[in-house]
């Protein structure tokens, strides 16, 4: 018995020794402290995990933009220190990182998190601690009801649903089938679609929910096909976006497929291949920057961001990275306007800021913490494996 006890304590000792070694290594790698003329901004992105396709471009974009601003001498001489945390898509981790950033790092603002679920988990934490939160997630509930310190840069879900229904009206589509993922984004989208469909005279004949890890949806789509719908709407941010497209073609379904603004990543088109042709979805203008008319106010900014990102990271730009771009720019514009890095003053300044971002023309006010209008969406479609503007 005594022997067993001794062994146990010994192995605990080994564990501690190992942790100590790792800790020493980590510490010796840490960067040196910088003070004076810097503003600390925290960022929580799901760089790994299921939502990594959101967090990864967001992290790259934020880092790139902050480096660029600092290299150009900062904001009126004030340098930005960006502290990035990887939440792995977990609301619990996002919450503990938010606390850490607020209490230990004493950041002025937090950018992110990438997903709606995570943002809602830290909304009240940031607001109560009077730390600015600029979310990169889409759900309406982030800014409705308004919390004084909480803002967001992506377009609202409801605008996407309305944009889809307006297009359907123009195409004469009346009866549709809806398939959504069981993740936060999909469930939110389903609510918005069901809420606005009657306003546009559209009947949802069938609404099905699938698992976010689904690898085959032919059975569900057989059911949808059986209902004789005139179009299908898929609302998700998971790989199922491409699977739905493939499965519809395999089932010989000829009706148009509409997707949410979550489809704004060319990788989904590549994964769906031929089956992606003709998919219609609402999206910001970033993906069609090169075909925009030259007089479009966003064109110059979008082309610059696209070129910088694609040269630096050797991958296609996505709208998600753009949300982080807009989040950083919002803080930069507000700091310029406030001529201060005092949190309360910057917060007040955000509500007076108007600027051109990647998602659209932002106009913030005390009653508008998203700042984007319906005009921030264009309807896009896929033609020859590329995103192009959809012509009704």
């Amino acid at each position: 018995m005594a022997f067993a006890f001794k062994k146990k304590t010994m192995s605990m000792g080994i564990k501690f020794l190992f942790i100590l070694l790792v800790a020493v290594l980590c510490l010796s790698m840490g960067s040196q402290e910088q003070t004076g003329g810097t503003v600390k901004i925290g960022a929580i992105f799901s760089i790994t995990g299921g939502a990594s396709f959101l967090g990864s471009p967001e992290e790259k974009t934020a880092t790139m933009l902050v480096d660029e601003i600092n290299a150009a001498g900062g904001i009126n001489g004030v340098k930005i220190e960006l502290i990035i945390k990887d939440s792995g898509g977990s609301p619990e981790k996002a919450k503990s990182f938010a606390k850490q950033l607020i209490e230990e790092d004493k950041v002025m603002a937090i950018i992110g998190p990438s997903t709606s679920g995570e943002t809602m988990a830290i909304k009240s934490t940031c607001d109560e601690n009077k730390t600015i939160l600029v979310s990169c997630a889409a759900a309406e509930t982030i800014v409705e009801p308004i919390a004084p310190y909480v803002f967001k840069t992506p377009q609202k879900d409801s605008y996407a649903a309305i944009a889809i229904f307006q297009t359907m009206n123009a195409m004469g589509i009346k009866k549709i089938g809806v398939v959504t993922s069981n993740a936060g984004f999909g469930m939110g989208g389903k609510d918005q679609l069901e809420k606005y469909a009657p306003d546009y005279g559209i009947t949802i004949a069938i609404a099905e929910v699938y698992d976010k890890g689904a690898t085959d949806l032919t059975s569900v789509l057989t059911k949808v096909k059986d209902k004789g719908v005139e179009a299908v709407v898929n609302w998700s941010i998971v790989p199922a976006q491409s699977i739905v497209a493939k499965n519809m073609k395999q089932l010989g379904m000829k009706v148009p497929l509409f997707q949410s603004h979550g489809f704004g990543n060319i990788k989904y088109v590549e994964a769906a291949g031929e089956a992606a042709e003709g998919i219609i979805f609402p999206c910001g203008r970033l993906l069609v920057a090169d075909v925009l008319p030259d007089n479009n106010p966003q064109k110059a900014l979008l082309m610059k961001y696209k070129k910088d990102y694609e040269t630096k990271f050797k991958e296609d730009v996505s709208t998600f990275g753009g949300h982080a771009y807009d989040a950083v720019m919002l803080l930069v514009e507000a700091i310029k306007k406030a001529k201060s890095i005092d949190t309360a003053k910057v917060r007040d300044a955000i509500e007076k800021v108007s600027f051109v971002g990647t998602a659209g023309m932002f106009n913030f006010s005390p009653t508008e913490h998203n700042g984007l209008g319906m005009d921030s969406f264009e309807m896009l479609t896929v033609k020859n494996g590329k995103f192009v503007l959809f012509k009704k």
Binding site: T48, E208, S219, K249, Q250
Partner: protein, 353 residues
């Protein structure tokens, strides 16, 4: 329901079921030799299809798939050597692996970047060597040699996490897919008014070839029989002159290779993402249990059956409940026939797990 709709549900069920089946087969090989469940099986699938996708950009598809399977087979062997066999006693392979892993940390982080390259290397070696030796010493001193089945199963969970992280760094978080083997994403075959993707026929065909091949291998070849003997009784097998250690390594190799093939052939349908291994593996494992662990023919039949049952369940109730339906089917069958549909109750009583 009209007859062509019924047929369409059956074909949809077969599409889904064929994916379950081919994943389930992989579990059986390692189980047949060691009695352990390899929870990294899903990661073998992902690794195989990832390699094939990378190679397919400049090689013909068939060659890319072949190389991917061979490469994954080698990875399977390496993992077994380091983690399963290496756990037991002093192991030079593990020391080297540990040393390299630790060496990378200061080297990649640029700890000694100011120094000349050679000095940089020397410093990193000076840091890594004693740590690796220290860990190895602790291992040798305190880890008890064991071949406990449960412990090995937990190690495979560790391997799956490790592989997932490595794949995230080698590739990235993005979603990919191999091109369709025949036709493309929009082609489908019309069977009496119901449609099915040609890729599903590929999955079924490959499953059939694997099942027939495995049955012949385990029944008629000396090595196959030796592998079966290892799972029945390790001591007796080694007394008969069978090298149990290498049989275990071989089972990991075959399992990894078949997993990679399964990953390649399903990739056009399911697509491939670094973290999808566990999702595939859980359903595949359930199907393997349903068909009777160790029985590859049973796995295919059970997979197709579950797929078709799910498809008809969807036709009468919301898709959101489908996972619950399949779990209920699984529980009912295991309740009445714990050894699975096609497993022998007699044999399963003798197994450790």
């Amino acid at each position: 329901m009209e007859s062509n709709i019924v047929l369409q549900y059956i074909l949809s069920g077969i599409t889904q079921g064929s994916i379950y089946a081919i994943v389930a087969i992989g579990f059986n090989i390692i189980y047949n030799t060691t009695g352990i469940i390899n929870f990294a099986q899903g990661e073998f699938l992902v690794l195989g299809s990832m390699i094939a996708i990378s190679l397919a950009s400049f090689l013909p598809l068939a060659l890319a798939v072949l190389i991917a399977c061979l490469a994954t087979t080698l990875v399977g062997a390496a993992l077994e050597l380091v983690f399963i066999r290496g756990l037991k006693k002093w192991s030079p392979v593990r020391v080297v692996t540990l040393f390299l892993l630790i060496f990378i940390i200061p080297f990649r982080s640029g700890l000694f970047d100011g120094f000349p390259f050679l000095a940089n290397m020397v410093f990193c070696v000076l840091i890594a060597a004693p740590i690796a030796a220290g860990i190895e010493f602790l291992f040798k001193r305190f880890v008890k040699s064991t071949s406990n089945v449960l412990r090995m199963i937990i190690i495979t969970i560790g391997i799956s996490i490790l592989m997932r992280e490595v794949m995230l760094h080698v590739w990235d978080e993005k979603n990919r897919a191999l091109p369709f083997f025949t036709g493309n994403e929009v082609s489908s075959i019309d069977i009496f008014g119901a449609m099915i993707s040609p890729q599903v026929l590929w999955v079924l065909g490959v499953s059939a070839v694997i099942v027939v091949g495995l049955n012949l291998f385990f029944k008629f070849t000396l090595i196959g029989k030796a592998m079966l003997a290892c799972s029945d009784n390790k001591t007796a097998a080694s007394l008969c002159g069978i090298n149990v250690k290498w049989m275990v390594t071989l089972s990991f190799m075959i399992s990894a290779g078949i997993g990679a093939l399964a990953g390649c052939v399903t990739s056009p349908l399911t697509q491939t993402q670094y973290n999808m291994g566990s999702t595939l593996a859980i359903k595949g494992f359930a199907v393997a249990v349903l068909g009777g662990l160790g029985n590859s023919t049973g796995a295919v039949v059970a997979g197709l059956m579950l797929g078709v049952l799910e498809a008809f369940a969807i036709s009468i109730m919301p898709n959101a409940y489908i996972e619950a339906i399949s779990i209920v089917i699984l529980l009912v069958i295991l309740f009445f026939k714990p050894s699975g549909l096609f497993g022998s109750a007699e044999a399963s009583r003798l197994k450790e797990f």
